[in-house]
């Protein structure tokens, strides 16, 4: 719409505004399928669940308004405390380890080498298969009583293979699930790889000329240049980790066991909603999760100003 010096002509201004309005309308028209979907399938149910979180509702009788009772119950509920505790542990441990693994593999795959395409696909595969359901089944088979992990550990002097495996030990289900999420590093890896491709080779060459070793080059060039990508991955993986459900559900056989050690937040929410039909309570849990994830995201954004560098701009 470059129309220099035309602003003095009121007729042309009106025409421009009319065209703008038409553009806006067309824009909304094209957006409408998404907007309708968003309002009907996301925003509407969210508002309904916000209302339900203040009620006692079992699908069966009409919702009965109970004020803040559900929220008060949450903090007195030992299972809620347990679910929150292990979910936070999982997020704090699993996310960094997964990102480190993804970055490490991405750097290995960044070097030009024969069969690079094959390796990239191969490493991406685990995150592609069946939205983690099939991998969770494989994981369970590996770590179960008398499974491959138990047998190998018996060979190298661990306990007898037939004593429950990692799946049966409440102390080892968390490491097992963290290993599982780390194994699915494909998605952040691909994003890291794309980020690494953007780092200009001259920087490394110049640094090498100045005598910087590989560690220094990584810390002074790779990390700062990659920080926007790192931030993106961190944000996404953190939010993702809060929502762990599939692997815990499958590995515990839909129980959250052994001894509540895999009773993650969303799993407990699901039990409350669809096993116990305490929809009000489940809605309250969902909203607490939304608020917590929102706060964590906010904090990450705040801290990002200190460590994320956007090249080519002065943000």
């Amino acid at each position: 719409m470059a129309a220099p010096a035309a602003t003095t002509d009121p007729g042309r201004v009106r025409a421009t505004q009319r065209k703008k309005r038409a553009d806006t309308r067309a824009g909304y028209a094209f957006l409408s399928p998404w907007l309708i979907g968003f309002v009907a399938l996301t925003a509407g149910p969210m508002i309904a669940s916000l209302y339900l979180s203040f009620t006692d509702y079992n699908l069966f009788s009409d919702p009965r308004f109970t004020g803040l009772e559900n929220y008060q119950r949450l903090f007195a509920d030992p299972n809620f405390v347990q679910a929150a505790k292990i979910t936070v542990t999982y997020v704090l441990l699993g996310t960094p380890v997964k990102l480190i693994a993804a970055l490490a593999v991405a750097m290995l795959l960044n070097n030009a080498r024969r069969g690079q395409g094959f390796y990239r696909s191969a490493f991406y595969l685990p995150s592609l298969i069946g939205g983690s359901v099939s991998i969770a089944i494989v994981w369970k088979a590996m770590f179960i009583d008398d499974g491959i992990v138990a047998r190998v550990s018996e060979l190298v002097g661990g306990g007898p293979a037939g004593s429950g495996g990692w799946v049966g030990d409440p102390g080892r289900t968390m490491p097992m699930l963290i290993l599982l999420t780390v194994w699915q590093f494909g998605a952040p890896m691909v994003i890291f790889l794309a980020g690494l491709k953007q780092v200009p080779g001259e920087l490394y060459e110049a640094a090498a000329v100045d005598g910087a070793g590989p560690v220094r080059r990584f810390l002074r060039i790779t990390l700062p240049m990659l920080s926007p990508v790192l931030f993106f991955n961190l944000l996404l993986e953190t939010i993702h980790a809060f929502q762990i459900f599939n692997s815990a559900f499958i590995i515990s056989g839909g129980t959250g066991g052994p001894a509540r050690s895999t009773l993650f937040y969303t799993l407990y929410l699901y039990f409350r909603g669809f096993r116990d039909f305490q929809m009000g309570y489940a809605s309250a849990m969902a909203w607490v999760l939304v608020v917590v994830v929102g706060l964590v995201t906010l904090v990450l954004f705040r801290t990002s100003k200190a460590w994320v560098h956007y090249s080519g701009g002065n943000r």
Binding site: F60, I144, D145, G162, S163, G164, G168, D276, Q278
Partner: protein, 432 residues
Amino acid sequence: MARRTAAAVLAGGIALALAACAGGSGGSGGPGSGDGATGEITFTWWGNEERAAQFEQALDLFTEEHPDIEVLRNFNSWADYWTARNTEAAGRSLPDVVMMDVGYLGQYAQKDLFLDLSEYEGDTLDTSGFSDTLLGSGTVDDRLLGVPLGSGVWSMMYNKDLLDGLGVEYPTDAMDWDDFADWSREVNEAGAAVSPTQYGAEDPTGSLPSFMYHLMQDGNEVFTEDGQAAFTEEDVVDFLETGDEQREDGTYFPAERSAALTPLGGFGAGQVATWFNWSTVLTQGVADTGTENLGMVTPPLEPGADSHVLSEKASMLLTVASTTEKPEAAVTLVDFLANSPEVAAIFGTSLGTPATQERRDAVDKSAADVVVDAYLADVADQVTVSYPLLPVGYGSIEAKWVELHEQIRYGQITSEEFATELFAEMSLALNG
């Protein structure tokens, strides 16, 4: 509110459609009018594809006998079934004929969602082949709401192959809990040499039905009529403590291995000799263990007792929605599905042991069915009470019991903490 409105509109639509279908046939007749058994009715059940195919066959037979009644069918998996039915119940738009579980019957009865079938007894509905105690489990406030398709009795199953292999004698119905603990230790001793090691028993206090069985032995009520617990925290603690010694000295199958074997369990995996469960699940036991060589006796006796107090639990109940436009046709379908020997032959024992003798005779018996039949005949004179009417929210209490019990087995909580948490959950779940 939107949901209610939508459901109401939908219900209205269905009602209109049904009314239109009825056009000219004289509408729905009241009880006993006989000629009202025409029109279109809806029927829904839970289960898998295999069961659906069986119902297709059964309903084909029904259509042959009653060409004037058309049955529209629908089924869901167990979990989806209750989400869907609960929503329909809220909108009072249940299908005409609904398969019910005893765990939900009380809740639905409270809202007056079902027709009293006793008005049709002896006329459209024949219940002469059913035992009184079994019909009792479909009865709420003297109103017969559900007719059971099958039934089961609490039992102790044992793996004969495993015990033969170890050279240990089979358990008997004359054992009390102390005898049983000794017997378990004997199995463990012999089983220690096998890899993976074999055990006599998985902790038998691990399910709410086992606790209910324990309460019933002393003639105690389990739930009150208004849907509250009729037992105390002390009762729960006392019951759990019957296993304290065995848990401490490692007599029971290790919790770690149970967890690793979920959902199979020690018995299903062929590593534990006994299994406490409903007699109806023996077929599943055969499938899981891979041997037909299973036995079944009554669970051990309470200290000092010389006989058991058993009850038949209805495994599937057919109910008719109180909102039905075609009660006569709906009851005709219930009568057919509950009484026809041909229908029993189609399902075998997959819906539980058929509830009437005529139907039991019609079934082509597998090895497992023979064992169950022998057990039921054996305990018939000890089946003296109806299964308790389960309160609203029973399902979440049962799940809570399992969850807490696992923590006991891992030594994370005491029996007292178990009881406190169970009662906290009950005060929330059992408020109706």
